[in-house]
């Protein structure tokens, strides 16, 4: 009922328009931010822009252990597919690592380690999609989220990342930690999601 009503009202207008706007052809490169793309090495470029939005790029598990240990974040979740490469090393360093996310303990996990699908150098964003990520909640509820990716998975620009969407029904770009400025415009990090967003090279 509503459907036919809405379509007939739209068509009443669109059919009576004397001239209709054509789709403007354009090259998406006009949207690139040259200032943010000056660094030619993609990982380095991503790292610089990620830091600018309060993200923490890391290049080794040792660096991650030092950070978690130093901030007393000693209990967390690790994607089972990453256990051998990352989780087991954390466990060896004395941290407690689980490979199953238990919903009733959502508030106990201090860190969550999941696979990132890639990253965007230009904007300093981590890309997480439904196919590669083991648990959406493990990337959200802990104070620290670690997105793990390979060097060759860093894409250069936002248009590149859009072109690479693929078939996943859910994709999210995380450009730094969760934040708000709702109270008097003062920036506070860690509202609902992570207060620390880490991108770590595998």
């Amino acid at each position: 009922m509503s459907r036919s009503q809405i379509f007939s009202k739209i068509r009443e207008t669109t059919s009576s328009l004397q001239s209709k706007g054509a789709y403007p052809e354009y090259d998406t490169s006009i949207m690139h931010s040259a200032a943010k793309l000056a660094e030619p090495d993609l990982w380095q470029c991503f790292s610089d822009n990620f830091k600018a939005v309060s993200g923490r790029p890391m290049e080794s598990v040792a660096q991650l252990i030092e950070f978690l240990d130093g901030n007393n974040q000693r209990y967390g979740y690790c994607d089972p597919a990453l256990y051998e490469a990352v989780g087991s090393k954390l466990a060896a360093a004395g941290l407690t690592v689980e490979t199953e996310y238990h919903r009733d303990r959502y508030d106990d996990y201090r860190f969550g380690i999941t696979r990132a699908t890639g990253a965007i150098a230009e904007s300093g964003s981590l890309i997480i999609d439904d196919f590669l990520t083991s648990s959406r909640l493990a990337a959200l509820s802990p104070w620290v989220h670690v997105g793990v990716l390979k060097r060759e998975e860093v894409l250069r620009t936002i248009p590149d990342a859009i072109a690479a969407f693929g078939e996943a029904p859910n994709i999210i770009w995380c450009t730094g930690p969760s934040k708000t400025a709702d109270v008097e415009g003062i920036l506070i990090e860690g509202v609902h999601g992570p207060g620390e967003q880490i991108a770590m090279l595998l």
């Binding site: 509503s2 009202k9 904007s123 959406r136 450009t175 999601g193």
Partner: protein
């Protein structure tokens, strides 16, 4: 009686006005830095974005149909709602079908338009706003006064008092970080027990059906991760032709709204969760809502449907800064609201006809608009509509005597010469109410009526 918006601006408390002025001017500065630093001259990009939106609106039937098909093909249930009541009923029946009694909702202007929260609560569904600002608005029974910063009119002291009163906090603490942490603790428990998540959408790509949601807090992501049902309420004007066009819109939206290249979380959804994923909705419903949009499309102000709700026009507008969003008495305040509200809520046109008049037509809103909407032209078209529909302009000085004078050279000449007499007459006490109101706010300079004509005439000789 003066115009309602004037009365509101005059009666606003200093505290509230300072909050609004500080918040909106900071927004304008951040926008300017972000856009000009990255793009030098962003004007060609704004024009491109406007042209893409115009093209879409002129072919909206085709793109809406394509979006519907793309979503349906991917297992999404698509509904249509002509009116606010249709939308409320559609959402309620989906919720009832799934036995939902508790849900969280992320910020959506469309949901504000149809007053979804109070309706669901009346119908026994516990509906909690999860955006920090909207959460506070809900606790206070208040209305948002800004598109992006709903509590721009509040300060930390008021919020701390609200938290104490509502039992969110055990003691008074107005430190913004403490306020945020307390909301974090309160809300995450609610996400985990909620049975559905309701969102809006910033864009819909008609080629793949992907809905785009942007937030900084991560509330919409969290609201949809633990439960099985996602309902998105989407205005039919949110459609763009292709995913590729997101390069243009996402780059302009974040920078125009908050001075960020991208908001923290940009989520793209075109179906229920994938089979291998542990968390996320198994059922996804999209409700496309008209609620006056086809009337706006049919009007001579259809350009306003390009709007991507960035709030740059609110931040920059001198009238908005003085009067605040509540003075616009509708979901949308500021320049966007002054154009959109009187036509979107068409039955309220006579009541809202003062809004397009509350502008000096300075054009700052046009200059900052990421989709190049000629807002001041549209304000003029709506003033014309009010005139043609003979809607009385309460409190305004009648302009017809001026029109008579200005169209007759001899009458004009006489009036100019006579106006000198005004310097000696106590016109402040003339028993003409609108004139008194007008003079009550300004001091007239001494009249030198006719001097210029005389000077020019002698010069020509």
């Amino acid at each position: 009686m003066p115009q309602q918006i004037d009365t509101y601006a005059r009666n606003i408390s200093d505290e509230k006005q300072h909050s609004v002025i500080d918040g909106s001017s900071a927004g304008t500065d951040k926008r300017y830095k972000a856009l000009h630093h990255d793009y030098g001259d962003p004007n060609p990009l704004r024009k491109l974005a406007g042209a893409i939106k115009d093209h879409t609106l002129h072919h909206l039937d085709e793109y809406l149909e394509k979006s519907e098909k793309a979503l349906t093909d991917r297992g999404v249930h698509v509904h249509y709602a002509s009116t606010d009541e249709d939308a409320r009923q559609a959402i309620l029946s989906i919720l009832r079908e799934h036995g939902v009694t508790q849900l969280t909702k992320s910020k959506s202007m469309a949901a504000e338009e149809i007053h979804l929260n109070p309706f669901l609560i009346e119908n026994g569904i516990d509906c909690l706003e999860s955006d920090l600002g909207e959460f506070i608005i809900q606790l206070d029974g208040d209305e948002p006064s800004h598109i992006v910063k709903p509590i721009i009119h509040k300060n930390r002291r008021g919020i701390a008092e609200t938290f104490l009163r509502e039992g969110i906090a055990a003691d008074y603490n107005d430190d913004p970080e403490t306020i945020t942490r307390r909301a974090r603790v309160h809300l995450r428990g609610k996400y985990m027990t909620a049975e559905a998540g309701i969102t809006g959408a910033n864009f819909v790509c008609s080629d793949t059906g992907r809905l785009v949601l942007v937030t900084n807090e991560g509330n919409s992501r969290f609201g949809m991760a633990p439960n099985k049902l996602h309902i998105a309420l989407v205005g039919i004007e949110k459609i763009i032709p292709k995913e590729r066009d997101l390069s243009v819109f996402l780059n302009l939206l974040g920078r125009s709204a908050t001075g960020q290249q991208l908001t923290v979380y940009t989520e793209f959804i075109n179906g229920p969760k994938s089979a291998n994923q542990a968390d996320g909705p198994e059922h996804m419903h999209v409700v496309f809502i008209d609620n006056g949009r086809t009337d706006v499309l049919a009007s001579n102000c259809r350009e306003i449907l390009r709007c991507i709700r960035c709030s740059a026009c609110q931040n920059v507008c001198p009238v908005y800064r003085q009067a605040s969003g509540h003075a616009y008495r509708s979901t949308y305040g500021g320049p966007i609201g002054a154009v959109l509200s009187p036509i979107l809520f068409g039955s309220r046109f006579p009541e809202l006809a003062d809004l397009p008049k509350a502008s000096s037509l300075c054009g700052a809103c046009n200059e900052v608009c990421p989709v190049d909407i000629p807002i001041s032209d549209l304000l003029l078209r709506l003033r014309d509509k009010a005139k043609r529909e003979e809607i009385p302009s309460e409190g305004a000085i009648p302009m017809s005597p001026f029109a008579t004078l200005a169209t007759s050279p001899s009458l004009w000449r006489t009036a100019m010469t006579m106006s000198k007499a005004m310097n000696h007459l106590p016109i402040q006490v003339a028993p003409i109410k609108p004139l008194q109101d007008w003079l009550g706010q300004r001091t007239l300079p001494e009249s030198h009526g006719g001097d210029f004509r005389k000077w020019l005439k002698e010069r020509r000789r």
